[in-house]
Symmetry: C5
Subunit: 351 residues, 5 copies
């Protein structure tokens, strides 16, 4: 639900007004710069956005990563310097966008959704990615991300990434985001397995709520992955010169991964639908069982009680009550009735 | 349902007969004119439609906004002066159309559906929009709309809109209508959250009705947004010269917003479907609980009552009733049976 | 179901054998001719098909309307004179076709399905329409149709139709058929509203049957409108010279109407699906209520009866029964138990 | 299910191995030859496949119909003489294929599924059809088919078929197969109507089984008709010279018929789905009724029995039991309670 | 679920890192080489991957089959020698991929999923297939496969395969994999038939679990076959010169088989859905039956017990109890009530 609330800017504001609408302000905005080509490597964290500007003209690949979106004026400055369209800036500072790709003459603009675990909860964050000729700019909502392996590889300097252009860096970032979908799904898969056990052993109302909770998580992942698939597909078929031919096979590889993610999500959805069936039917079955117990007890004892009622009547002329063996005989009859009933229930497979 | 009733004109009327079919007549029709270019700005409210005609030839951008559709002859006059097709006029005065775009040589004709809150109820209104070379004409059913921010921006005179052509004005009007969908959805989202709480605490029959009411609202929004999406898409791909190239990226932005609206609607529909499941299963669960109470009470006391029945029989020769400790012994036996039953139910997890 | 039965001719008959398969014979076949151009107007009802033939060569627009399909030889004669394909004639006399458009060199052949009310029941009829250069031939199964407004407009002579060519007449006939779908839907909509009230006040088994009856009517309308939509679309995109350019915008208008009809049908289907849910859940709820009453009564009185059973036992040594206040004390205990139970049920919200 | 079993050849056999996998061997294979052009007509039944070979070179149209597929060597000989692809022969002798069309240079190969009644059961059979320049070869699994009307028309010699080429013969065979789908559907439609009556009068568990049986029949027809539709469509759009232009309109006619079959099947499926709903809800309703009877009886008599229990207690000091009118007063009180209960149930509409 | 777990490599690893992620290590990797042309045939099992390299340059067709994927360095060596893309190697050693086809200049890369029975359990294995100009390399996860019939045919030397090029070998391998889907489906079909019997005779909760187990198996097959269909389709339409024209008709044949597999799976899914319906309704029916027994017993005996209660009251002035025939009269009345009840139940068809 929060997805929506974030979206609503004051309706009717002129388009391209970058107003940050997320209430939770991270105190400090951090700007991380990594600059490398095959030969040299620079890494620094800066406080002022202006320190990024010199890297724009350098021929080496520069990755500018900005965490925290609430300092809109800073992002505006960056946008002015890199001549970004005002609508791009508006999208950057509005978390809750769906993944999309927009192609401009001098840069590509991607919106992605990043999922990762932080202290056992799933964090969902919007990552905006700008791919220029020799720079990649990423915007995240919060510090904490899934990019550390990329950073390590850049620092190491021996991997393919160090010798490639900016498009390969962009690919790597997308790849690591998609790879984390598998991590999320694996964890959810374990949860679903646990749920399956709970469903078999003791299916209470809370199992139903858990099933629905998982279903919603699947829906939320799905809403992120389906458009992502299209984004990566159009990236693959983009005619932009910013994407080198040799990178395309890697993009196709990410594309395959997103399809695999979708497959897994659909699989889980099918499993959850089956669990819902099982839950509902087990509720019915338990009702059935309750009913059987009631029926067995009532059906055995109500007739017997009726018999005791007969001989509890105060008629003066009930001959049986004066018989010497009347009482044992009645007990015997009642025992026989009970046995007969039990046989009947056994035959009906209720016992 | 009212959607339909409005539609039905007398069947078989010649096409292009503009007959206003909505019964509730707003007393006065108001015609608002705003005329501006980068340099000057005129705003006036006129009573006679003829006062709009001079603006047609002016090179400045003119926005003519007409509230109230029941004075058909006036609209006919306007149509004649602006040489509008008779089918266009028929559509204008028939509320209940689905969103559509029709391209003519000298103007574009759009039908949109506007949603907004007025005293806590959702108002749904048809807005017809004519985009000519230097004019925009809008028709609404009632006074009261979502366009005030646009008016403010035009009056202010410093925003992009003041310097742009008529197509940008048309875009702005569409944008603000779509933005209001988010407002509606946010409000509905809050209602759904409340409903969710109600569902957990005390799920009565009226919860079911509320779920269905929300479902219908979602369906009605959906019926407006899906064709709107196509309309905006064809606007983007239109070859009409009335749409300037630089405006297209803004139109694409509105397009993204409509997709986001659709996403949110589908999300809510999924949530409502899940709530329906939960409701139905909680009805079952409550039945289960009722049955358990009945079964526990009946299963404990029916056998006990049977025992009291035995010793209530009037047989002369029941040896036990003469025993000194008969009565306490029977009480003890009955207490043991009750305890045994309770243990049995505890084991079955019914208690 | 009758839809199907009508279809079955003797399987294996050579194609193009016009055999009228509907059993109910209308006694007289009526042939109505209207011939007009901007200047003159002739109307007559003839008995012999040969009287239509002279109109074929006239340059004025001729509308030949034939009610009743059982005189196959007459239709054969007409077909020979107007050189119609034998498969066209076969389709004409086989009611139960789905809407379709077939283009031939000198004429277009359309099958439509006409719905109208006659004495409160919905009549569904096949209308076959042949559009030639200067004639329109329509075939209906029965007298009684929805074309009277068109006839009036032709007779009047001042409407656009009188000055237009045959394609505009064909359009007008299609338009009035589609307009009548709205009439049908409006009526059904009222029925659905009534049903909704019935569902809330007293939902019996017959409500279920009514829901299903409405669902089937919707399905039957849907089966007529979906292919009709395609038919009108191909008519719009047809390259046949029989359709004048200026008529196309009118055809597009009918197309919009069919989409609106489809929208309304889908809307009603959603509403009916929701009503089915409500019905099923209200059945459950009533069962729940029944169970509660049973449980409350049984749970209060079974334990009390047990207590009376205790003091109804005939043991000699039950000290309590000799107490002076034993009886009132037991009554008090039982009243307390009952009150306690009632509080328990109130807390469970069963009361 | 048999559909599948037939399919499984020993996996891994080289492709194009014609091995007949259906166990039930028809004893004699019959080969029927009809040869005709506008002037002459020959019909004979031969025993040896070689007797067909001379007809290949004749310019008249030859229809070779082979019933029984178990003599694989014979079919191999035929295939060699007519230079058929080995995969075609494999398909011919494997019943259980789905309808398909394969185009080769000198012949077209179609697989169709034929349905007909034989002693009240539906027979489903694979018909393979080879259309060459002047011959049609059909293979069926068993004697008995739907082709007799075609044979009659050929024998008669005055119908269009006698003067047409092989493609018209192929069309006629397809047409008669599709026409028989209507016969099957009509019969099933009657069965569904009967089922509907049974559902209303006495809905037992066997109604459910019948509904599911009909559903499966619909599914099996559907699986045959959907691919058939595509087959006929590609036949219509085929560029093969084996299909004369004038035949195409007839093929289009069959295409319309298959769509009508599909429509009818979908209609029946909707009706069956509605019947399932009705069945399930009527099960619930009956349960409801059972519960009501139980509740009414128990709710009336349990409190009354409690009252009798009170005065059955053996307390020494129960003043009421010594009253002269105690007994009638208690009877009256109990009668009042019963009446009150009945009024309560009447108000709840349980009675 | 294991499908997923296998997939997760350490996220963020550089792409093209072949790390074998399946935990269960088969001890020995076996490399089988078959080399043949129309004239000669060599078969050997080698231990070192380098022994395969000489075959690359030979003009005869070479099939290298590698079982076991855990020796990544060996696969790396092979990849280097045959100049395979690093992403291909990554896919080879990651079981759990979905079927796909990738075209490179000098080879085609296919991923397939192989299903077969080993001691009554279904083994699902990933088979990667590389088709070069004169070689086919296959990778499987484990020893044991479905390829023995192919091996036999190659050894035999008289079949078409021995004279064909590598593409025919690749086709044959795909064909035998698809053929085995039928074997699996046949077996599952038998299981479903058994389940159907169990459903009719004694539908317990475990039937539900079995239905869901079958549904999941169907889903897992489906997830393998749907992409396979696309793979084979693109293989058919591939413009690669590695596929000879005459092989294409065989590929089309496999394509038909995959569609048939899909048809069968969808059929089974429909049957299973129907069985779920039947199961759920039979649970309801049994509940109904339990309720009826309870209601019959309770409804007969509760009123009777009430009567006995009346005459068990200790009022001094109950005239009936002193009547000579009071006791038999009451017994008679009770018998009449019981008979009346039984008639009532018989009329309600509960008995």
């Amino acid at each position: 639900m929060e997805n929506l609330k974030k979206r609503v800017k004051e309706p009717g504001l002129p388009p391209g007004t970058p107003i940050y609408v997320d209430e939770q302000k991270t105190d400090r905005i951090c700007i991380q710069i990594m600059d490398y080509d095959g030969k040299q490597f620079t890494e620094k964290t800066v406080a002022k956005i202006e320190e990024c500007f010199p890297f724009k003209e350098k021929s080496s690949v520069t990755w500018i990563n900005i965490c925290g979106l609430h300092d809109v004026s800073m992002i505006q400055k960056l946008g002015d310097y890199f001549s970004l369209h005002s609508l791009v800036l508006e999208d950057v500072v509005h978390p809750g966008q769906r993944p999309k790709l927009e192609e401009f003459d001098t840069y590509l603009f991607l919106i992605l959704r990043m999922f990762y675990f932080q202290q056992e909860t799933i964090i969902e964050e919007q990552v905006s990615l700008l791919l220029g000729e020799n720079y990649v700019i990423t915007f995240q909502e919060r510090p904490g991300d899934v990019f550390n392996p990329i950073r390590e590889r850049i620092r190491n300097g021996t991997y393919r990434i160090s010798k490639s252009k900016a498009d390969y860096l962009a690919y790597s970032l997308i790849d690591v985001i998609v790879d984390h979908y598998f991590v999320i799904l694996e964890k959810l898969g374990e949860g679903i397995e646990d749920l399956e056990d709970a469903l078999l052993s003791d299916p209470g109302q809370e199992v139903l709520h858990t099933i629905h909770r998982f279903k919603r998580k699947m829906l939320s992942l799905r809403r992120s992955v389906w458009p992502l698939r299209e984004v990566i597909n159009s990236l693959d078929h983009s005619e932009s010169e910013l994407i080198v031919q040799t990178t395309r096979i890697y993009i196709r590889d990410v594309y395959d991964h997103t399809i695999q993610v979708i497959d897994t999500i659909e699989n889980y959805r099918d499993i959850l639908a089956g669990m819902l069936d099982t839950y509902l039917s087990s509720v019915n079955n338990r009702m059935n069982e309750v009913m059987k117990v009631l029926t067995i007890i009532a059906t055995i004892f109500i007739p017997l009680t009726f018999i005791t009622g007969i001989y509890g009547m105060n008629f003066k002329y009930i001959p049986e009550i004066y018989f010497r063996w009347g009482y044992p005989a009645v007990l015997l009859v009642m025992a026989l009735i009970a046995v007969f009933m039990l046989i009947f229930f056994r035959k009906k497979k209720w016992l």
